[in-house]
Symmetry: C2
Subunit: 347 residues, 2 copies
């Protein structure tokens, strides 16, 4: 693939600065946890699975300069680091799930001393990194079964290599289908306000020579009415135990439109994006971001001065509008309340 979104490189987390794509390809080298926190906050690294890996690497950055053997002091720093990273963004549950994975290392090794814990935490972070690579390829292969020759698929935001370590969730489905020699094309919604579809998804798909057409978000309905969309795949930021799914703002719109036009609508997300502790999407906190993301572009004002702005970064699609959820454990269908528990490991 050769898109290495996030990678641990000699004591440093190297990430692609996605705020600069597609015009510039630049790395950010995070050498401390504050730099990683900022990178997550400002969306230099984004996409729920990538944020999960970034959080695990962030923990390593937070503890790696700790000297000595004082375990209470170490644990204090460790917990402070985890708590701090948890404040970077509220919606994608992978962030919290991966911090919990790191916390579990400490909880499950009560007798380990500081150097041993450091080693175990480093090992777990690297496992989280590798699991993402493996899980995305497995999900992609499951989802690719849904793609038939000649299909026109639609996606929103970026659920690709840039949203994971290097392969993607929804776009991973396209990569697997392409590898299998299937012929299909993809419509990419530009995804206002930060244009992850136009900037990132189109860039990724064109690199893989996938037939890609960019549309504005408000054009999807019209395409559907013309019979130009056969199937929809999106990623997810958090899936409740009943299947309600938070994802990039605009996803719910697509799900309603898909239902109106009888188009299958699939979520593609790993186990780490599920939040089995919550019963429904109503319990998912939705991040609201600053108004200047909507009122300005590249420093240029694009809206009338003084106007109020509503800028939620995500919306929640109710389970009843979702045809299936593609996971590394196979495709889960309704009734989700039953099938999510039966198909997914509880941790």
């Amino acid at each position: 693939m050769a898109i290495e979104t996030i990678k641990w490189v000699s004591g440093c987390a190297r990430i692609i600065d996605q705020t600069k794509l597609p015009n510039k390809f630049e790395y950010i080298y995070c050498r401390d946890v504050a730099t990683m926190w900022q990178a997550i906050k400002r969306l230099s690294v984004r996409g729920a699975p990538a944020i999960g890996v970034a959080a695990a690497f962030g923990v390593l950055l937070g503890i790696q300069k700790f000297k000595g053997q004082d375990k209470p002091k170490f644990l204090k720093l460790f917990n402070k680091t985890c708590d701090y990273l948890a404040t970077s963004r509220p919606t994608a549950v992978n962030l919290f799930n991966m911090l919990n994975e790191m916390r579990a290392v400490v909880a499950e090794n009560p007798k380990a001393d500081v150097p041993a814990l450091k080693k175990l935490l480093h090992k777990r972070a690297m496992e989280i990194f590798k699991e993402d690579q493996k899980v995305c390829r497995t999900m992609g292969d499951h989802g690719a079964k849904l793609i038939k020759n000649g299909m026109k698929a639609l996606t929103v935001c970026n659920a690709g290599a840039l949203a994971t370590v290097d392969y993607g969730t929804a776009l991973g489905v396209f990569y697997s289908a392409k590898r299998q020699g299937k012929k299909f094309s993809v419509y990419s919604c530009e995804t206002r306000p930060l244009l992850q579809g136009a900037r990132l998804t189109c860039w990724e798909l064109l690199r893989q020579k996938i037939n890609t057409t960019l549309i504005c978000d408000n054009m999807a309905a019209s395409l559907m009415a013309k019979g130009q969309v056969d199937i929809i795949f999106t990623g997810a930021d958090r899936i409740a135990s009943n299947g309600d799914t938070a994802n990039k703002i605009g996803t719910y719109m697509l799900a309603v439109l898909a239902r109106h036009h009888s188009i299958p609508f699939y979520i593609v997300a790993p186990r780490s994006t599920f939040d089995l502790k919550i019963k429904s999407g109503k319990q998912i906190p939705i991040e609201e971001r600053k108004s200047d993301e909507v009122t300005h572009f590249a420093g240029v004002r694009i809206a009338a001065k003084g106007v109020k702005v509503y800028n939620p970064a995500f919306d929640v699609t109710p389970a009843k509008l979702i045809t299936g959820i593609v996971t590394e454990h196979g495709i889960i269908h309704p009734p989700y309340v039953k099938n999510i528990y039966e198909n997914l490991p509880t941790r």
Copy 2:
């Protein structure tokens, strides 16, 4: 109101250059028909009713330098001018309807000589201008009956003073309701790609001290799910005799979403936006515009290089999704096939 979108000023059509708003308020002085054609084409003047008036003024610009009494020569120039203006944009029927009004002046006065025809055409253009002012206020008053205190309305694109001579269609409803002392608020969809909602509608509504909140187009569904939208008003570019309505891209999306959330969805448009010669929306030509409207903003590339773009400027909302059509002759309800004919004059 003091927004004079288009005005005839001593032998010249003065228009507000809407491509510059809201950052700069500048007039364009059209002294020849080519300047007017360009102004329509590049959306310096836009909005179906305003384009209709611009076309009538364009005819005056085309013929005003004609010297002499040679009627065949004059008619050749007149017809050439009308045909030329008709090529500026394909969807808004007001353009063609107002050119037909001007042609009717010539047809209905076969004995008039060149100076008399020039005078009659000038008179008709000024009537078209004044009719728009009157008709918009009447429509606004009809539509304002639908606004109740505390309501949250939603609109898309700009169907305001800037889309007409000086009052608006959908926004005219808000101006009338405001004048009647009603309390309500408005969500404005930004309207990609050219952001007429963010740039023009917010600017207009804030000038009138109307409580306005800007959203990206893909946020409307989420607002509706939260019960934050009570009613939707949009303008129109062409309404077929069965009620199918072409309007700015994204309108059809709103209509489908409104139906899903049981929200009333109204079109506001004058008689001059109806095309009673066509049976359904399938016969409405939809303008596709250049890809750089989507891939670039203010000269900055915002999409991956080389990506294909689909950029339709309009979509068609089927009549069955429209709660009512507010016209200067009252609010027309389904069944439209019957009620449009019964409520509107045939010319």
